[in-house]
Symmetry: C2
Subunit: 123 residues, 2 copies
DNA sequence: CAGGATCCTATGGGATACTG
DNA sequence: CAGTATCCCATAGGATCCTG
């Protein structure tokens, strides 16, 4: 994924290249899924729920999701600062499809992992 | 995505990290979608349908999809060689969910692209 | 607390040349 | 035709340090 690129030059109308490719990275789906677990979530809480994400990547991923209108970021003028992240309506309308994917992945995981090792041996 | 990694060490049971992250790359979804357009497809035809993919990445993507049991590869003992790619039952069971994603992306693309540029300006 | 700024490395991915 | 093999570069992403 090329985050700096706003739109694919050759295929500006392709929904896969322009929209889906943008959340096809290591963390976006996981962040959306995690945010979906509660209405509001602070930065630290989010990071606690995804322990293997780095601070930088959590920030970068949230910013990109925010750019595309999937995530709302609310900053409170307090000290120490409080920032609450939540899903937008757009994300909420997407999430059922994400959840379907996750359910599918859960149901097929064992078989895929078995095949993966098997097929890896052969090559 | 780390293609060499067979399974996530910290979260071996996470379907997102282990299954979905694997097809969360630049080309997998597009290749699955394209293969779904006809029952069988040869390497060259596939590449003609995805003109902006490099030969290397088409090969790599197909191999990974094959490892995970999404793609079947049939080689004919002919000269010049003929290789036909097709979706497996597993891929066929996944594809409705992929298509739902694509439809969603198509319906929301304009609004997202608008937001993306807008939000990019602000930052 | 919620990050920004840097530095660094691994690797995703393209371009080109070659082959059974 | 359907790839392999190389070389190379951009960038995704981690680690660490710093700050309002």
């Amino acid at each position: 994924m090329v985050r700096t690129k706003i739109q694919n030059e050759l295929y500006p109308d392709c929904p896969i290249r322009n929209i889906l490719a943008r959340i096809s990275d290591k963390w976006s789906i996981l962040v959306l899924f995690t945010l979906n677990q509660s209405a509001l979530m602070r930065f630290n809480t989010l990071q606690k729920n995804i322990p293997d994400i780095s601070q930088k990547m959590l920030t970068v991923t949230l910013r990109t999701l925010e750019e595309d209108g999937f995530v709302k970021r609310k900053v409170y003028a307090e000290v120490p600062p409080r920032v609450e992240y939540s899903l937008t309506e757009r994300a909420i309308s997407l999430l059922p499809h994400i959840n379907d994917l996750i359910t599918w992945a859960k149901n097929n995981m064992d078989a895929i992992l078995t095949d993966r090792i098997q097929n890896k041996q052969k090559s």
